[in-house]
């Protein structure tokens, strides 16, 4: 559908059967203002999954990119997409981000976990193994952004050594994906991570009401999350809040989460919403019930903030497939105003970005937006508002600012005062669209040294069988 060659986009695509994971034909079916992925497996019947609901329409949410094939491929085309990942040379985008799982251990056991972590089945990779994997990823993907993930990566006492190692290999933007428990409890650990060269902390943050954390994570966590933000800020580490969004659990808290993030700026650099996907570990009931599509999230942000942010602020991405995400960048004024500074309307639809150019710009932009400038005095890392409590509802309500901007003020403030609102929706066995998968720019470097698109790596069939992830750390055999 995201066609660059000027052809009328087709709604025919391919997917997998969620039961047996065989490749089958699929189609995007438009019914009213909803779009479904419909498909049929000869052995296991028909499936229908919501993809998109309401405005902005899926049709207008486009940002075509010419396909760019990786130069160095660790996979060979044999069975066809998505069975040959390495990446294979039929992949149509270069990685902008590589994720490495540095442990399978976890100190939570969340009911929803894309990595189905905490089974204790595999030992942590050694630093030598990590070095080998990162060198391989660098050789194939170049100096793209690096995500340290797991399990819970902060369970590794030597995580600062992993960061140093990654810096030495040439990664310049390194983030850790974390629940924040250790960052809240261990200030020295936070300092060591920062000193080692960590760029940003992606902090699991599902709401400002602990009832939400108890449902999604199994316990109350808000105090720990806020302390983690404070400890990061004191060190000069930027934080991005990452809510997993589940309809009926925290979809009425979207505005509150955003306001909380704004109150914690400039330490908090943005909020990156992730509507739930059904892979890894997830509650075993009707999966579509919890889905929340990107346009619904955009409208929710506008409604729940009273127009502080608007649907028209958001743009499709220049790197990954258009239907994977949205984003907008803002500047906060010293008195708490919020001004959108991202791409203008009208650039969304047909501004073509070359695949490789889109990747390079993404790597550089992400680094600017999601990390704090280096060598900031710790006093500048404190929240804008002089509020002793960081709980939502205390402090000024931000107001939307429009109008002309002073260039000198902008340049002085921009490095610290930008705030990004974004969302990414991952694919699972029910809604997988192979066209989107081939445009993926986030790859996991697997234990056997292959680059696999994130959604393919985590994809899990109905019976719990992984497409690529095996319980013993090896890849599934197809």
């Amino acid at each position: 559908m995201d066609d660059f060659m000027g052809k009328a986009p087709s709604n025919e695509t391919e997917s997998l059967c969620p039961v047996c994971l065989k490749r089958i034909k699929a189609a995007r079916l438009f019914q009213g203002d909803e779009v479904f992925l419909v498909k049929e497996c000869m052995d296991h019947g028909s499936f229908r999954t919501i993809l998109w609901r309401g405005e902005p329409s899926m049709t207008e949410w486009r940002r075509p990119k010419p396909p760019v094939h990786p130069d160095l491929c660790y996979g060979t085309v044999e069975k066809g997409c998505p069975f040959d990942c390495g990446l294979c040379d039929a992949h149509e985008q270069l990685p902008c981000s590589v994720l490495i799982e540095v442990t399978d251990r976890c100190n939570l056991h969340c009911p929803v976990c894309f990595a189905d972590s905490g089974r204790g089945e595999s030992a942590d990779p050694s630093l030598d193994k990590i070095s080998w994997l990162l060198e391989r990823a660098m050789a194939a993907a170049g100096p793209c952004n690096l995500q340290l993930s797991g399990g819970e990566p902060t369970l590794r006492d030597d995580l600062p050594d992993v960061v140093k190692l990654a810096r030495g290999i040439g990664y310049s933007f390194i983030q850790v994906n974390t629940n924040g428990l250790r960052l809240a409890a261990d200030k020295d650990y936070v300092r060591r991570l920062h000193a080692a060269g960590l760029s940003s902390v992606f902090l699991q943050f599902d709401g400002v009401d602990d009832a939400i954390h108890r449902i999604l994570r199994g316990r109350s966590l808000l105090d720990h999350k806020l302390q983690a933000v404070r400890n990061c800020g004191a060190t000069g580490l930027g934080v991005v809040l990452v809510p997993t969004v589940v309809r009926g659990v925290n979809t009425s808290a979207i505005g509150a989460i955003l306001r909380q993030g704004l109150q914690l700026a400039p330490t908090v650099r943005g909020v990156h919403f992730q509507p739930i996907s059904y892979f890894g570990r997830f509650p075993d009931h009707k999966v579509d019930e919890g889905r929340f599509t990107l346009p619904e999230l955009m409208r929710c942000l506008e409604e729940q903030t009273g127009g502080l942010v608007r649907v028209s602020d958001f743009s499709p991405p220049g790197c990954e497939h258009a239907h994977c995400s949205f984003h907008a960048t803002y500047m906060q004024t010293f008195d708490g105003g919020l001004r959108v500074i991202g791409a203008a309307e009208g650039d969304n639809c047909c501004s073509a970005v070359s695949g490789a150019g889109g990747v390079k710009r993404t790597v550089e932009t992400v680094s600017r937006r999601w990390s704090l400038p280096p060598a900031m005095p710790s006093s500048q890392c404190l929240p804008i508002y002089n509020a002793t409590s960081s709980c939502c509802g205390i402090g000024h309500d931000p107001t939307r600012i429009e109008g002309d901007l002073d260039l000198d003020v902008f340049l002085r403030e921009a490095a610290v005062r930008t705030f990004t609102i974004s969302a990414m929706t991952f694919q699972d066995a029910y809604n997988l669209d192979l066209e989107r998968l081939r445009g993926c720019c986030i790859s996991v470097i697997s234990p056997d040294g292959k680059l696999v698109p994130f959604c393919a790596y985590n994809l899990t069939g109905m019976g719990g069988k992984g497409l690529y992830r095996r319980r013993d750390g090896l890849r599934s055999q197809w």
Partner: protein
């Protein structure tokens, strides 16, 4: 087209087309969603605006980099 007399202020520049001295005017520069307001030398006749190299390669280039989107 301008003829440079002095390089430090608008009164040093003359528009070659209109033969009028440039004046500092309130100018609005738009880049994507952001409009910057600043005072720049401009011709009162034809409206030509002078952006000197220092501004273009300095502050404006820096602003463009900040605003560059993914």
């Amino acid at each position: 087209m301008t003829e440079k007399i002095e390089s430090k202020n608008a009164s040093g520049w003359i528009c070659n087309r209109c033969n009028l001295p440039l004046e500092l005017q309130k100018i609005r520069l738009q880049y994507f969603r952001v409009i910057f307001a600043l005072d720049l030398p401009a011709c009162p006749g034809c409206g030509m605006i002078l952006i000197d190299e220092e501004l273009a390669t300095g502050k404006m280039a820096e602003a463009e980099q900040v605003l560059e989107d993914k």
